[in-house]
Symmetry: D2
Subunit: 93 residues, 4 copies
Amino acid sequence: MNGYAGQKDAYLKRLRRIEGQVRGIAKMVDDDKYCIDVLTQVSAATRALENVALGLLDDHLGHCVAQAAAEGGDVADEKIAEASAAIARLVRS
Amino acid sequence: MNGYAGQKDAYLKRLRRIEGQVRGIAKMVDDDKYCIDVLTQVSAATRALENVALGLLDDHLGHCVAQAAAEGGDVADEKIAEASAAIARLVRS
Amino acid sequence: MNGYAGQKDAYLKRLRRIEGQVRGIAKMVDDDKYCIDVLTQVSAATRALENVALGLLDDHLGHCVAQAAAEGGDVADEKIAEASAAIARLVRS
Amino acid sequence: MNGYAGQKDAYLKRLRRIEGQVRGIAKMVDDDKYCIDVLTQVSAATRALENVALGLLDDHLGHCVAQAAAEGGDVADEKIAEASAAIARLVRS
């Protein structure tokens, strides 16, 4: 099971929109649009991806991590370490 | 003219790859993959988009901003202010 | 109780070092050092602060959040929501 | 010469304030304050440092880079490459 199961459709919709944003950026480059306008769209797509990541992380903490913590033991420790590593990757990306 | 004209094909190729990464993330969600594995791919796509932005910014400084600065006057000041605003959006996204 | 209790001295040492880094940056500005050299030190201090934040977050998940999750109920939900909000602030800062 | 010369006092004031913020965070840790409250202050200090960096970068582009670009040649290219590297460090920190 995964933490985002209840909101799968919403995530799919957001990801399709981001895919469209990236395709739009490629079209802007192909059409020789002004650098700063391309950059504005790249920043918007980056922020949209980050928001998807923050949502997935919240779902993961609320389901997978919370459940493992309730059971305790080594699995709980592993889930926490794994989540912390994912957070670090996100903060540094 | 834009700053990335000489490397348009390389940017298009990178953007198509990122578009494919985002489509792959949607497929992972659709296939109910584990949250942390989805998050790892979201971080990778975010970083790839940031690298495109840094490349476009470097091209922009080296062409558009450098040329405006060589001409001087108000246009130069405007180009610098515009580039600084784009950098701020990037740092905060 | 807080999650970082076991490593209080290590955090204090890291924070004193960052305080010294910021004081060093002020001295560089006062001594009219080259912009790029000042910026390099600002990036280093920023990264050091982010690493402190990632450490505190890991401790918090491993202690406060894990304990609340083990107890379950509303408190668990609140702790998860609070941690997610802190992660979002960190990712966006 | 450096780009921030005209605003040296303002930068010194901002950096002293950030130094005080970091000292305040150390005091919070020493007083065993709640993790999330400490994290909120770390995010605030990180953002304040980033804003100093964005200011220094804007000054640098507007003075050092603009002047080098006006003179042209290898020095201009070097200054652009150096600024781009500083921007990349900032975006990734």
